[in-house]
């Protein structure tokens, strides 16, 4: 991957709020034309990262490059080329949704009117309601239409589907797929795996202000563990099961997780106790995430 293909690149990014470290040496790389899933539990630093990339917050350390420029210094030039959907959309109480879309679009240098109309239709959005009358999901739709009706080459989406119903989530997935076909690069943050699983080419997982895993879905699956449920002929010796993870022993019943490269060894070990029944669940990303998220709690607790 050469540097000029990188649309977003941060290196050791640090952001402090007083004494609290929100970003603790974050390295994020997003290549051109990909949909990059940005996953992490609540409070891991997703929105802070995005706000630094948008030049809304100034980093305390490290470097960030966005579309080849400095997100803090080159705000106006860079923002002509990107569109943003905030995680928590606040609209102006006295303005209708349609007015808000046109305001944001105009500030960005104009909207594609045909696409604006089409998106409003597909998202079933009433553009004449005033700010406060919209539900959370509908406020989200206003921001999504405003962002996607432009021809931005980079879309930065901060938990864009929070509040959307499943039907609208499908529409969103379609629309995002179309944007990708047009060649847009997408940074899609979320705390729910299934939201990014269908669209993302690559994923980065953030925990406590650092990227802890990054790679394609296939690479991630390779890191996920297989779950094994076994009923043995005799009770196992705890010390001998040390090669397995998350071991739970209930008499002769054993439940454990196993790394992809350790399945053979685990089978050999368990067969030694006389296998009476065996169930193997394939590696799921869900379990990988839960594992990473749980570790986050440990990390937070240790601090």
């Amino acid at each position: 991957m050469s540097a000029d293909e990188l649309v977003i690149e941060t290196d050791g990014l640090v952001k402090m709020f007083g004494r609290f470290t929100a970003l603790d040496g974050l390295d994020l790389a997003v290549t051109q034309g990909e949909v990059h899933g940005f996953l992490g539990p609540n409070g891991a630093g997703k929105s802070t990262t995005i706000r630094v990339l948008l030049g809304l917050l100034k980093a305390n350390g490290g470097t960030a490059r966005l579309l080849g420029g400095d997100p803090w210094a080159d705000v106006v030039e860079l923002h002509k080329r990107l569109a943003y959907v905030p995680g928590d959309v606040a609209l102006w109480p006295s303005m209708s949704g349609g007015e808000a879309i046109d305001l944001l679009g105009s500030l960005r240098g104009g909207l594609d009117d045909a696409r604006r109309a089409e998106l409003i239709e597909r998202f079933e959005l009433d553009p004449t309601k005033k700010g406060r009358q919209y539900s959370k999901g509908n406020r989200q739709k206003v921001a999504i239409v405003a962002a996607l009706a432009s021809n931005a080459e980079l879309l930065i989406l901060d938990e864009p589907t929070s509040g959307l119903d499943p039907l609208m989530e499908n529409v969103f997935q379609e629309v995002l797929g179309e944007a990708k076909e047009r060649g847009a690069t997408v940074l899609l943050s979320s705390h729910i795996l299934s939201e990014v699983e269908t669209l993302a080419d690559r994923l980065s997982i953030i925990r406590a202000g650092r990227i802890v895993e990054t790679g394609t879905l296939a690479q991630m699956r390779g890191k996920a563990r297989t779950t094994v449920h076994a009923t043995l002929a005799r009770e196992p010796v705890a010390a001998e099961l040390a090669g397995l993870h998350d071991v739970q022993v209930d008499g002769t019943k054993v439940t454990a997780t196993v790394d992809a490269d350790g399945i053979g060894d685990a089978m050999t070990l368990l067969t030694g106790y006389g296998l009476e029944a065996l169930a193997v669940a394939p590696p799921s990303l869900e379990s990988l995430f839960l594992r990473l998220y749980e570790n986050d709690d440990d990390a937070a607790g240790a601090r």
């Binding site: 706000r51 705000v75 905030p86 209708s96 046109d102 305001l103 309601k129």
Partner: protein, 531 residues
């Protein structure tokens, strides 16, 4: 317990605990106002001659009466305190109550907090009851703390108690008004603006009625004048307070009836659907759009203020000729009638300027509010630079100041030039324009605070507070000229007098420009608020 108010005591206890900090400034300001009067009086005006001098000073500038009301007797510390603080202390208490009530009703509904509460075990009227109780409590606290401290500082017992009781009674009336407007406005801001406008109008009308020696009915139809009619330290009449209590009760009854009829989160006036396409397409257009209601209301307000103050200038000759102190000043040759009138017009227009600066500082503070409510973030994520966004709002604030003074100036000049006081139309209107740079400098303080130190955005009011305190209260404290000169309004030349000095105003303008520069530098460098 009565079903409609289930849960109110618990909610009240929690709310008071939560909001107690926001009560403090109102209590502090009223207390400082009142206690400082009795403390400084014997010190600044030690002799009988000094006190007569004060009476002459007050009499010589009837413009002061517009704000402070009539000076029944300033020859005692308590009488001085009553004159100086009755009107202001009452208005401030009422404003405090208005903000507390509006925040606890519509403010909570707008922020969604109320929904959490209303879904709990809470009667339909509990939240309003809690809100008005908080308004009543903050009013009582203002009165009680101010009375205690003033008595400790040596205030006379009955005069002090009555004076501070008028603060509380004014606060209660403010509570009643806010309880009603909270049921009417489309959102919290509209509700509180409505209540503030009502109290502000009554306040100005009271000062005007006393200053032009209006007939009695003009006093008795104005609830704020009831407070003045208690005449603390002079007659100590307690019964007008009962009128205030009765009015508060009536207003609350109306509020509870209206509250039972309206939908949650909406005022009596339902918002109409908006256009599907927007014409607001630039940061400047947005700033104008967001402040539209405020700008229209204040514009009307300044036209009315121009009429009130302008009419007042036509009455000046009568007012001055009836005053013995003025006769002495003129007879001694210390001042000519032309100078006296010129200074008078300048003072009246300074008052307009200070009121204009209040309106414009609000516009600047709106930037911070928008930022706190996450509405600036999506704008700055577009190719809109921070400087451009901030400049759009600052331009609206500065432009509003110019517009307000122009409007009031045109009207006042019309009256003044027809009043045969030796002030031409051009001079009076020029006076209004000359006051603009001073107002801009006060606004510039807010620009600096919101731009560079937004965490202490309350400090944005520092310029207003200093100008008000020094320009209006300063002379009665016998402060030195160099202290008075901190107020930008001190440097506005009185154009219709024989000596016109522009240097001070130029310096003031430069200071203002420096504040604006600080604000922009800060706004460009700092983090945007995150929630």
């Amino acid at each position: 317990m009565n079903a409609p108010v289930v849960g109110a005591p618990l909610l009240l206890r929690t709310s008071v605990k939560h909001e107690a900090r926001s009560f403090a400034p109102w209590i502090a300001i009223a207390t400082v106002l009142s206690a400082s009067s009795v403390l400084v009086y014997p010190w600044v005006f030690p002799t009988q001659a000094d006190r007569e001098g004060l009476a002459a000073l007050v009499g010589a500038n009837p413009a002061l009466g517009l704000i402070f009301g009539p000076a029944f007797d300033v020859s005692t510390a308590d009488g001085f305190n009553a004159w100086r603080t009755l009107a202001l202390g009452g208005l401030l208490t009422a404003l405090g109550a208005i903000f507390v009530v509006t925040k606890a009703t519509r403010g909570q509904e707008d922020s969604g907090q109320a929904e959490l509460l209303a879904s709990g075990v809470l009667g339909r009227s509990s939240r309003l009851l809690t809100a008005v109780s908080m308004g009543a409590i903050v009013s009582v606290l203002v009165g009680a703390v101010a009375a205690t401290v003033t008595l400790l500082c040596g205030g006379g017992t009955e005069a002090t108690l009555l004076l501070c009781a008028t603060y509380t009674a004014s606060g209660w009336m403010g509570t009643g008004v806010a309880a009603v407007t909270s049921q009417l406005g489309a959102e919290a801001r509209a509700s509180s603006s409505m209540a503030v406008a009502i109290m502000g109008t009554l306040f100005i009308l009271r000062g005007f009625a006393y200053s032009v020696e209006a007939p009695d009915w003009a006093l008795w139809v104005n609830p704020l004048a009831w407070m003045t009619e208690t005449k603390p330290a002079v007659e100590n009449t307690w019964w007008p307070l009962a009128l205030a209590v009765a009015l508060t009760g009536a207003l609350l009854a109306v509020a509870f009836v209206l509250q039972a009829r309206r939908d949650f989160g909406q005022g009596a006036i339902a918002p109409a659907p908006g256009p599907a396409r927007g014409s607001t397409r630039s940061p400047l257009a947005l700033a104008l759009r967001l402040n539209r209601g405020t700008l229209v209301a204040w514009t009307l307000g300044f036209a009315v203020l121009g009429i009130v103050f302008g009419y007042f200038t036509t009455a000046i000759t009568d007012l001055l000729s009836g005053d013995a102190g003025i006769g002495q000043i003129l007879a001694s040759g210390a001042s000519t009638p032309a100078d006296l009138f010129g200074t008078f017009v300048a003072t009246v227009i300074s008052l307009v300027g200070i009121i204009a600066s209040i309106a414009c500082v609000q516009i600047v503070l709106r930037v911070r509010k928008e930022e706190m409510e996450d509405r600036v973030e999506p704008l700055l994520a577009t190719p809109t630079s921070r400087a451009r966004y901030y400049a759009s709002n600052v331009v609206v604030a500065l432009g509003a100041a110019l517009a307000f003074l122009t409007i009031a100036g045109l009207v006042i000049a019309g009256f003044a030039s027809s009043a045969d006081i030796g002030v031409t139309y051009g001079q009076a209107f020029g006076q209004a324009l000359a006051t603009v740079p001073a107002v801009w400098t006060v606004i510039a303080v807010a620009v600096a605070v919101v731009g560079a130190r937004p965490h202490v955005s309350i400090a944005a009011w520092a310029g207003v507070l200093l100008s008000f305190g020094l320009t209006l209260l300063g002379p009665t404290f016998g402060l030195d000229d160099w202290v008075l000169a901190i107020s930008p309004f001190y440097h506005v030349p009185a154009i219709a007098t024989s000596t016109v000095e522009w240097t001070g105003l130029a310096v003031v303008t430069l200071v203002g420009a420096a504040f604006v520069a600080i604000g922009f530098a800060g706004f460009r460098r700092r983090d945007l608020a995150t929630t």
